[in-house]
């Protein structure tokens, strides 16, 4: 029991994992893997592919663990690695197209009321988005990146990022309204 409590200290775990201690690495993996698989699943439709991406991301995490200085949160550091790994996966294996139509003036987003949706419904709505829309929407809405950061990450212009977000929201809004209409018709 003392060993378990000792290992629960994340700093100690990280130090040991950085030295290649496999039990420590496993404990870190088991602690963060469910959250990171959820992150990868936001970008990748297939759960098995998402898991493969997550595993390759953890390989990078453990191989570069000595570079983690402990200044920010460990989870945030791992999460950024997972996001980059997912984006690079989509770029390699799927032909990501960003809509070339850039809206000159993106209208201010309407304050749409929060829909009553569960996890599966939300994930299915995200999966239905084109990959270009999806990446920008998730990075902006869920991960909290700014358009400038998204533009540099996806190697697109900032205006393209904004228009992709606008179109993604519109697409989601239409899908949600369709979904609510079908639900009301069923009830």
């Amino acid at each position: 029991m003392k060993i378990i409590s000792f290992y629960e200290n994340q700093k100690v775990l990280i130090k040991r994992a950085a030295k290649g201690n496999r039990p420590a690495q496993r404990m870190l993996f088991e602690k963060h893997a469910p959250r990171m698989l959820s992150v990868c699943r936001q970008y990748i439709k297939d759960l098995h592919f998402a898991e493969d991406v997550m595993l390759s991301g953890f390989v990078k995490v453990f191989n570069n663990l000595h570079a983690f200085r402990g200044e920010g949160s460990f989870e945030g550091w791992v999460r950024r690695i997972m996001i980059h790994e997912a984006i690079s996966y989509l770029r390699k294996n799927q032909f990501v197209v960003f809509d070339s139509e850039v809206l000159e003036q993106v209208a201010h987003t309407e304050l749409i009321p929060a829909p009553n949706l569960d996890e599966e419904a939300i994930q299915s709505l995200i999966d239905a988005l084109p990959d270009g829309y999806k990446m920008v929407f998730v990075l902006y809405a869920v991960e909290g990146y700014k358009h400038q950061e998204i533009a540099s990450m996806l190697n697109i212009s900032e205006s393209t990022s904004k228009s992709q977000l606008f179109k993604a929201r519109k697409h989601l809004q239409n899908q949600i309204s369709t979904l609510e209409l079908s639900r009301s018709a069923e009830s």
Partner: protein
């Protein structure tokens, strides 16, 4: 940043979501980590083995070369001519005063009692104390080898000296017999003792040419006293008997 209702709802739901990985996920990761980690370890291991071999080779080369140098240096000192030793710089200052002492003893030829005490007393002031301590190791090697050299050379150098001394004594005996008509045993004995002392002095000077006399005198003197004295006495007695019979025959 404006918060849209859709964005807020999606963020809340997705932040709370956890998806458990499959059962074999860790095994896959373990294999992937092993595949990436093992080549590095093997590389380091081979580097370590190579470094170990290189170190062993270097140490052995240094060790054996050091031994060869240690063997070569004393022989070079032994073979070096005396003039070069005198002209050498401060690094061989310890040898130079010995040469000076030898030159002085050769010129003056003091009695045996003085020579026995002189090298220790004279050589110390000539050699600076710091240089003696610095060259202590070199001196020990230099001082050890001439012992062998002297031991090898001593029979060669002493035998002619004894012969010449015998010839001198015989000539003196013959001269005294001619003048006085006879020589007493006491006179012959005193002449022999004087000849023996002279031989001892000469032999000590010979040793001092390359060896610290104090270190060697104690070792050699006993042997010298035993072997040389007996040999000298025997030869002198034989010579004296021959001379005596020859004188008797001539008188008859």
């Amino acid at each position: 940043m404006e918060t849209n209702g859709i964005d807020k709802k999606f963020k809340e739901v997705l932040e709370k979501r956890r998806i458990a990985p499959s059962e074999g996920a860790w095994d896959k990761l373990d294999d992937a980590l092993g595949a990436t980690a093992t080549p590095k370890r093997k590389g380091y291991r081979w580097y370590g083995i190579a470094a170990g071999f290189t170190g062993i080779i270097l140490i052995s080369v240094l060790y054996f070369s050091g031994r060869q140098e240690g063997l070569v240096n004393p022989s070079a000192v032994v073979k070096a001519p005396e003039e070069e030793k005198v002209q050498t710089t401060g690094s061989e200052m310890v040898e130079v005063p010995e040469e000076v002492v030898i030159a002085e003893t050769n010129e003056a030829q003091p009695p045996a009692e003085e020579i026995a005490t002189a090298p220790g007393g004279i050589s110390k002031p000539l050699v600076p104390a710091q240089q003696v301590s610095d060259k202590l190791a070199a001196n020990t090697k230099i001082e050890e080898l001439p012992v062998e050299m002297v031991q090898e050379e001593s029979p060669v150098t002493l035998v002619p000296a004894i012969d010449t001394k015998i010839a001198e004594v015989l000539a003196q005996v013959q001269a005294m017999e001619k003048l006085n008509g006879g020589v007493s045993d006491a006179e012959i004995d005193s002449m022999l003792r004087a000849a023996q002392k002279e031989l001892e002095v000469e032999s000590r000077i010979g040793y001092a040419a390359s060896v610290d006399a104090l270190a060697l005198l104690s070792d050699v003197e006993d042997e010298l006293n035993r072997s040389l004295r007996d040999q000298l006495f025997e030869k002198l007695k034989e010579g004296y008997q021959k001379v005596r019979t020859a004188v008797v025959y001539r008188n008859d």
